[in-house]
Symmetry: C2
């Protein structure tokens, strides 16, 4: 059975990332407890956890306040992800690609090829790409076999819009969205090739450069705030959006 603390934590995190609270807004325990149908205790637990994750911050006078994020912070977090995923890619290249990993990577690549085979993409295609993209990134991080690295990436991915697929919901409404995703997929191909050849430096550089697309997506979102707000409600947490 699911405990109240985990349920409240998941639901509250979801509310936050969907922009249910405005930046700076006080997160009072009682209203949240009522809304999520629990007592204050699990809400308190969840709030301390979310503080660790960096989504809320403790107010000096007690209680918690919704954090405000800047475009710079998002860019920084993506840069950190790129650097860490670069390390993971290098480790995988150095250790060698197992048969299992090779097959799993191939599945991702072929699925992507199929998605881009047609002249246009359906919404299902976009959703499938997001799922595949997450899987591809997780495969490489997991295959690096470094627990601290996996943990560091996971913790960094909790920051808003830092994760690999965080900005992808924008793409269907972007003129060049399909092209950007196609380019990202070609980078996946190149990265898998580098991994298989044991080219550690190339793999690291590709993984790191790969995040430039995410960074340009953030820039695009900030330049089109009304569109971004609609597709990514969490954008409300970003100052200047």
């Amino acid at each position: 059975m699911e405990t109240q603390q985990t349920r409240v934590l998941v639901q509250l995190r979801d509310l936050i990332l969907k922009g249910h609270f405005a930046p700076g807004e006080r997160l009072a325990e009682i209203p949240i407890a009522e809304q999520l149908d629990a007592s204050r205790t699990p809400v308190r637990l969840a709030l301390t956890t979310l503080e660790q994750e960096g989504l809320v911050e403790a107010s000096s006078s007690g209680g918690y306040v919704m954090r405000r994020f800047t475009a710079q912070e998002i860019d920084d977090a993506i840069a950190v992800r790129g650097h860490l995923e670069g390390m993971a890619a290098r480790l995988v290249a150095e250790h060698g690609v197992t048969r299992q990993l090779g097959n799993d990577l191939d599945d991702c690549l072929k699925q992507g090829d199929r998605i881009f085979a047609g002249p246009s993409m359906s919404l299902d295609d976009y959703a499938a790409y997001i799922e595949m993209n997450n899987r591809f990134h997780e495969l490489i991080v997991g295959a690096a076999g470094n627990a601290a690295l996996t943990r560091a990436i996971e913790l960094n991915n909790r920051l808003p819009f830092a994760a690999a697929s965080a900005m992808l919901p924008m793409q269907p409404s972007h003129d060049e969205g399909r092209n950007w995703m196609w380019m990202a997929h070609q980078q996946h191909h190149a990265l898998a090739d580098a991994l298989r050849r044991g080219e550690g430096a190339r793999a690291q550089a590709l993984a790191e450069e790969h995040t430039q697309i995410a960074r340009s997506n953030v820039r695009y979102a900030l330049e089109n705030p009304e569109l971004a707000m609609k597709l990514l409600p969490g954008m409300r947490l970003v100052a200047g959006a």
Copy 2:
């Protein structure tokens, strides 16, 4: 005034890192609450926080259990620190060293030079080196100006023996301890030089290579478990020590 939660959190973390609990041991709330003179509520809060930090893990049947660490995990965590500090060093080199940062780095370097000026080191010298070492590393990370990077390094440093000075208490009892520390200090000099010259790649490589000394210290500790246990009680948490 300090709240109970922060006091309990700090004290409980301290107990854990001093090896007060055996790996796998159940961390029952009531005994901990009595020992720290608080109720179960702040203890629960602290336990969830420590779970986030990776020091304790949730038991499937409820409650928390002391984690067991492996030498591999420590080595991995140090490697992650090296990679992240390497990124910080590169960023600082690329952005340029401000006058303030240059002065602060110089203070560290000169203090280290003074410590190593004499033929032998007192215990105070060792303590001063540890403080200076921490300051040096924090200066560079802070100067990188990337909040997500600072956070990732801090979170990683919460893992046992991952932080820059975590293994240093061993050195006074190590035959070559002074030499290792001297070598580390020369690397600090080289790193500061690379930063000032704007040599990003060199700075990154130096910062990453710098952690090899920490990794060899871990190996030395594991080869001398009885000594390590005495100087670093937290070694009790490491399997095979």
